[in-house]
């Protein structure tokens, strides 16, 4: 009776439309948010904030960005890190060159720049699909990295293209401590996930899924394919751009174009594959997996008797185990961690009955 929904009827469409129709779910979400905003800043230590929670949140957001494009609109992309880079460098430049611009505004403007870049590289999607599209988004990946390195204006003529975070201040409050950076990231991520949830439940979200599932039928019922696909690229770019800026400023502090290489794109892709395509929760689960698993593996390696394997081997072993796990995962649960959670929830609703 953990999950009793007896007596919870929707009497209006608005009630039925709620993201969390069940009271238990709403209370759980509220509790989780309270915990994350109030309790965690007191309970956590600097290591947890800087090495685990902030990258987890930022990667969840990046996952959301790619998931909107790939999981919902069905357009494959390997340009995620490029759009993150555009977001980071654009935000940096807005902060640098427009004195007095509020931080949140430059974040949003950075997102808009990334959105425009994604829109541009999304144009081929009108003609090509699937793996061919993947290759054309790969062009974005290489082009952006090249442009940011080649033109030193983007990094304010710094020697190696490295940019450092502007002061993290919001209405006079300083957010540059680890706990502050965590809270800042959490706030941005929560707002953007709210926006993302609204989007996927809106007409545009349904149009994305329609294009993903059957694009001829989508065109026949009047969905404008061009607009729908390009909006998917642009909105995905916006989310990724903000994720990139957060990655640079709240997680790393300093970043160079090389920090947003193809590996990062793959990382974001793995997050949504492991977490679950077309699921918002999946982004969190996938990001948690990607962030926590290497840490877990290296801790396990630390338990081994000293001298048995050296550090270099541990790192290689980590990669191998990680790769094997991803393959195993795709075979066992192609729909990702989110699907596991969904099944668990179904069972909890029936518990203690079997069916």
């Amino acid at each position: 009776m953990l999950y009793n929904e007896a007596g919870q009827f929707s009497t209006r469409y608005a009630q039925d439309r709620r993201v969390f129709r069940l009271r238990q779910d709403r209370h759980a979400l509220l509790a989780l948010l309270l915990f994350a905003f109030v309790a965690v800043p007191y309970l956590g230590n600097d290591y947890w904030f800087s090495a685990i929670l902030i990258p987890f949140l930022v990667l969840s957001l990046a996952g959301l960005g790619l998931n909107l494009l790939t999981g919902y609109a069905g357009q494959l992309s390997l340009g995620s890190a490029a759009f993150m880079a555009v977001g980071a460098f654009a935000t940096y430049n807005f902060e640098l060159r427009v004195p007095g611009l509020p931080l949140l505004l430059s974040l949003a403007l950075g997102g808009v720049c990334a959105a425009l870049t994604a829109l541009l590289f999304g144009l081929p999607s009108l003609r090509i699909k699937g793996f061919y599209l993947l290759v054309s988004t790969l062009a974005a990946q290489f082009f952006v990295q090249w442009a940011l390195t080649k033109f030193s204006w983007f990094s304010n003529d710094s020697a190696s293209g490295v940019i450092s975070a502007p002061p993290l201040q919001l209405m006079g409050v300083d957010f540059s401590s680890p706990a502050g950076r965590y809270l800042f990231t959490l706030g941005v991520v929560v707002v953007l996930f709210w926006l993302g949830k609204n989007l996927v439940r809106s007409e545009l979200g349904r149009n994305w899924m329609a294009v993903r599932d059957m694009d001829t039928a989508a065109a026949v019922i009047g969905i404008p394919l061009l607009k729908t696909k390009l909006l998917a690229f642009a909105i995905s770019g916006f989310f990724l751009g903000i994720a990139g800026a957060l990655w640079a400023f709240t997680y790393l502090g300093t970043v160079e174009p090389h920090g947003f290489d193809l590996n990062r794109s793959f990382q974001v892709l793995f997050i949504i594959i492991i977490g679950g395509l077309g699921s918002l929760l999946g982004n969190f689960l996938g990001a948690a997996f990607i962030v926590l698993f290497p840490i877990l593996l290296s801790n396990l390696a630390g338990l081994l008797p000293a001298g048995l394997i050296d550090a270099g081997q541990v790192e290689n072993l980590q990669k191998m185990v990680f790769g094997a796990l991803i393959i195993l995962f795709l075979i066992k649960e192609p729909e990702g961690l989110a699907r596991l959670w969904q099944r668990f929830r179904e069972r909890a609703r029936r518990w203690p009955l079997r069916y």
Binding site: N198, L204, R212, D213, V220, I221, G222
Partner: protein
């Protein structure tokens, strides 16, 4: 149907000398026929006669090389799928073309996407008219769901439903757009007698209750003769018969096409 017989109304849809070929292979050759408002018109003919191609020309999936399409008082050289949808043409496909990963309700709501007035940004921020509009969309979708009796499967993922139900959901999605012209490509293909009877009843009900003009392709001659007001017969991309069911049934060319003749 009395209005249809009292005077000759202007046709809702008229195809004028439509020809369509694919790289030299002629699919449709100079076909003309018209469909009066409020009637059920059946397109019949052997496999490969060009029936589906003709439906595809009507709603713009294919563009005819020759001919004109008159629809609701406008003449066009060619249709575009988006224009066709906007002007009130909805359709179903021979091989179900539903959005398989979405629920029945979402599929039906997607059918109403052109009825939306608020922008995606308003919907993302959930401001202003969005909530009220959501309610209206949902009410309209629920009317269609109730009409086609698919309430029990409202929240089911379409891909998991049996074939006959998927056919009905596809009809629901088309109907949700409140079309003036409904194109049905073999709505009863692969169904058993009971399901066919049910689907026929739905089509007749849609036609009577909403006054929707229907053009359908069907192979079951019993169904065709039973529900349609007007039958057009195609063979090898040409029209060989056109008229009320009883008249078409007597047409020697039609009999020849269906049963074969001695040459």
């Amino acid at each position: 149907m009395s209005t249809r017989h009292s005077a000759v109304p202007a046709p809702l849809l008229a195809l004028d000398n439509i020809s369509l070929s694919f790289k030299g292979v002629t699919a449709v050759a100079g076909i003309s026929f018209s469909v009066a408002p409020g009637e059920i018109c059946a397109l019949i003919g052997p496999n490969g006669a060009g029936k589906s191609s003709l439906l595809n020309v009507i709603n713009g999936v294919y563009q005819a090389q020759e001919g004109r399409i008159h629809f609701a008082g406008q003449v066009q050289r060619r249709m575009r799928p988006h224009d066709a949808a906007q002007r009130g043409i909805a359709r179903t496909f021979q091989n179900i073309a539903l959005f398989k990963g979405m629920t029945v309700l979402d599929n039906v709501l997607t059918g109403r996407n052109l009825k939306r007035r608020s922008s995606w940004l308003e919907q993302a921020l959930r401001v202003g008219r969005v909530a009220a509009e959501d309610d209206l969309q949902r009410e309209a979708a629920e009317r269609v769901i109730a009409f086609l009796q698919i309430q029990p499967w409202r929240d089911a993922i379409v891909g998991t439903l049996p074939y006959g139900l998927q056919k009905r959901v596809e009809l629901a999605r088309a109907l949700a757009a409140e079309p003036t012209l409904l194109l049905l490509d073999e709505p009863m293909a692969g169904m058993n007698a009971e399901e066919k009877a049910q689907m026929s009843r739905f089509i007749v009900d849609i036609n009577r209750e909403f006054g929707t003009t229907v053009v359908l392709i069907e192979h079951d001659i019993g169904v065709v003769m039973g529900i349609s007001h007007h039958v057009v017969v195609l063979d090898y991309g040409r029209k060989i018969g056109d008229g009320p069911p009883d008249q078409v049934r007597q047409n020697p060319d039609v009999i020849a096409a269906y049963l074969g003749t001695r040459h």
